[in-house]
């Protein structure tokens, strides 16, 4: 069997290599010379390294062989210009005012307006269109933060991605609206998707970005998304990643943040469902007095798998990073947390704190959690803590002894366990909705078949009711 699996991996690589060669013209149609050079080099990296495998330390706990054994179609065609985006997606979170930016099968969906320039100077549009229209910005940032050499899937993305979302916020602009990126897949065959996003914040700018991943159909899908995010001097980015994919979906979400002096990034990834999810948060603090808050919450069951990889590069002095990841794993679900903090030699007075807490509800569920602190400076405060446990039997009895059913007592304890990650969400409407969705998920009522991850009430417009009223917790 072992040989069979290897054969399958080889096949997909060979297939993608074939696509890259045969459809070169189509894939590179929007490339500038700069982008084309990146692409060619990245393809070499991928060709050399191949798909990640369990012998690599960072992939030890996540086995891709099964999902790579499927046959996929790569590089789907762009949607037609007549596409009515409202017909495939409508976000109905109450009072959640967002500037919606939609992607369909990796393509910027609004084909009529590939680039939008706002009165405040903000630019939002298709990355492929930006290659041509904003070559200076592209050359300054594109492919500069993503790590093709050590993540072969990132290299594959650089080689094969055709489009994605481009966001540019000029200096001294506070974007009032929440920008919501929605990545929808709707394809009649198994789809292998490489989507690429680039977000650039100038100096003294502020942006709240909500990134949703959802699917419409239920075919087998492999989504390999890479986002590069540059946060300029004294700018702040408040970022959320909401993942509610079906069990047939593999989601590889690699985020590369690059922070300048005095900047702040807060990124919170909430994973409610998904066959296999791997989130990489790669943060480099290149200027002093920066801060990064990296949060994550995962609720997995059945045979789902979640892998959170965090790498925080403290490359400058006087920076601070805080990580808080919490997860509940049920049934046969498995998880990985790898928290790598690297404090470079000159990064004196670094504060870096990391916490990962897990609850395993069954003896078949598993979590592999690993803090990894690499410290080359001497004036540093670092801490890390990882826990794995079950629901506390004494607490369960305590709650039940007040008349609350065992099922609800468990939900109450699980909710109490994850509530602090939800409370980190600073957009009140989003926090409320996530709160509802997490409760639904804990009650086993959340389906992932609806449209947006935020769209859970499409078919039940009444307020979600719980036997336990958790609303005032």
């Amino acid at each position: 069997m072992e040989a069979g699996i290897v054969q399958s991996i080889y096949d997909l690589k060979e297939y993608l290599t074939g696509v890259f060669a045969e459809r070169q013209r189509e894939i590179t149609v929007h490339d500038t010379a700069f982008v084309a050079a990146k692409r060619a080099r990245a393809f070499e990296w991928f060709s050399k390294a191949g798909f990640p495998h369990a012998a690599l330390e960072r992939w030890r706990g996540t086995d891709l062989s099964r999902v790579l054994s499927h046959e996929y179609q790569a590089s789907p065609a762009p949607p037609s210009a007549e596409l009515d985006i409202d017909s495939i997606f409508k976000c109905d979170v109450p009072h959640f005012e967002t500037l919606l930016v939609t992607q369909l099968n990796g393509w910027y969906a609004d084909r009529q307006n590939l680039i939008r320039v706002f009165p405040n100077g903000m630019i939002i549009g298709s990355l492929a269109a930006a290659f041509i229209k904003y070559p200076k910005l592209i050359e300054a940032h594109y492919g500069k933060y993503a790590d093709d050499s050590s993540e072969s899937l990132t290299a594959l993305n650089t080689a094969m991605s055709q489009d994605g979302i481009f966001i540019y916020v000029p200096d001294n602009v506070t974007v009032e609206q929440n920008v919501q990126m929605v990545n929808i897949t709707d394809f009649k065959q198994n789809l292998f998707l490489n989507t690429r996003n680039l977000v650039i914040l100038g100096e003294n700018s502020h942006l709240r970005l909500v990134q949703c991943d959802d699917s419409i159909n239920h075919d087998i899908t492999f989504i390999n998304t890479v986002s590069e995010v540059k946060v300029g001097r004294n700018s702040t980015l408040d970022h959320y990643k909401l993942q509610n994919k079906d069990d047939h979906t593999t989601l590889i979400n690699s985020m590369y943040f690059h922070q300048d002096e005095g900047s702040s990034v807060s990124t919170n990834g909430i994973s409610l469902n998904g066959g296999l999810i791997r989130n990489l948060s790669h943060i480099t603090m290149s200027g002093p007095h920066s801060s990064a808050d990296v949060y994550g919450l995962y609720l997995m069951d059945r045979y789902q798998h979640i892998d959170n990889q965090v790498l925080i590069n403290h490359a400058a002095p006087d920076c601070e990073s805080r990580e808080l990841f919490k997860g509940v794993l049920d049934d046969h679900a498995s998880g990985v947390f790898n928290g790598h903090i690297k404090v470079h030699r000159d990064a004196q007075r670094t504060n870096a704190f990391q916490t990962n807490k897990n609850i395993l509800l069954t003896d078949k569920a598993s979590i592999d959690t690993k803090p990894f602190l690499e410290i080359y400076a001497d004036d540093v405060k670092c801490s890390h803590g990882a826990t794995i446990g079950q629901l506390d039997a004494e607490a369960l009895f305590y709650i039940r002894s007040r008349g609350i059913s065992e099922a609800n007592a468990k939900i109450l304890l699980m909710y109490a366990f994850v509530a602090d990650v939800i409370n980190k969400i600073s957009i009140p409407e989003l926090r409320q909705r996530m709160d509802d969705m997490v409760k639904k998920r804990l009650r086993g009522e959340l389906s992932q078949c609806e449209q947006c991850v935020l769209n859970c009430s499409t078919h039940e417009h009444e307020k979600v009711e719980f036997k336990i009223d958790l609303s005032k917790i």
Partner: protein, 248 residues
């Protein structure tokens, strides 16, 4: 109200309760005293329905029904309350919401509609004053960061809110200073009614100066070896548990 007959209980094969007999009638306060490790807390847990105990013999009749087959939550819904010796901290869950959930689940069990919000809040206010609770306590997470005294007061506050028929207070006096002890005892006394009953489990006689029991039992080595009026507690205080040990 409660009738325990020849109750034998073991944990992992070790017999802890070796044939307990206890009759508690409505309107009564019983005290169960005894040295450490004689099975007082085990008795409280078994009555309240904690799992992990093996009942090899006997029965517990509560309001005419053998409750050994009932879950902890069903017993609570039938009107049982256990005040914990070590109340559990539940971070992230406010006392207000915890109690409203508990009350509504109990009401549902009894076929009643959820308690109206105004009525619930009015009851909270009334009972908070009874226990001299700080205003902000009710909005805090259940027992999180509470002092020992606050935790015990919170137990009696929950009891006041849930209005059980039978309350078992397990070492409620332990870890209390004299002021907290007085408040807790006053609370218990004020909640006394002809149609409810209380079992006070305690190591020391001190609490019984404030809560006057109708009957005092001495639990020793898994058996009730002596029962009597409130004077028995005084005798115990005077002569110590050695006296029981020698007699039994």
């Amino acid at each position: 109200m409660l009738s325990i007959r020849n109750l034998k209980v073991s944990i992992k094969g070790k017999e802890i309760l070796k044939g307990i007999n206890l009759e508690v009638k409505a309107g009564e306060v019983h005290a169960i005293m005894g040295p450490n490790g004689t099975g007082k807390s085990t008795l409280a847990y078994v009555i309240a329905g904690r799992e992990g105990y093996e009942v090899s013999e006997g029965e517990i009749i509560f309001k005419g029904r053998n409750i050994l087959e009932l879950s902890a939550e069903e017993r609570a819904c039938e009107g049982m309350f256990l005040g914990f010796q070590y109340p559990v901290e539940i971070p992230g869950v406010s006392i207000t919401n915890f109690l409203r959930t508990a009350i509504n689940e109990q009401r549902k069990y009894r076929g009643l509609d959820p308690v109206p919000a105004t009525e619930f809040l009015a009851r909270m206010e009334e009972k908070k004053q009874l226990l001299e609770l700080q205003e902000k306590l009710a909005s805090r997470s259940v027992n999180e960061g509470f002092s020992g005294g606050e935790k015990k007061k919170n137990e009696i506050f929950q009891m006041a809110m849930l209005e059980p028929s039978l309350a078992i207070l397990d070492e409620t006096d332990s870890g209390l200073d004299i002021d907290a002890l007085r408040i807790v005892a006053t609370g218990v006394n004020k909640l006394r009614r002809p149609d409810n009953a209380t079992i006070v489990i305690t190591h020391y006689q001190r609490l019984l100066e404030y809560i006057i029991p109708d009957v005092v039992h001495v639990l020793f080595d898994g058996r009730i070896v002596k029962s009597g009026g409130k004077d028995l507690a005084l005798q115990l205080e005077e002569k110590g548990y050695e006296w029981i040990r020698n007699e039994s």
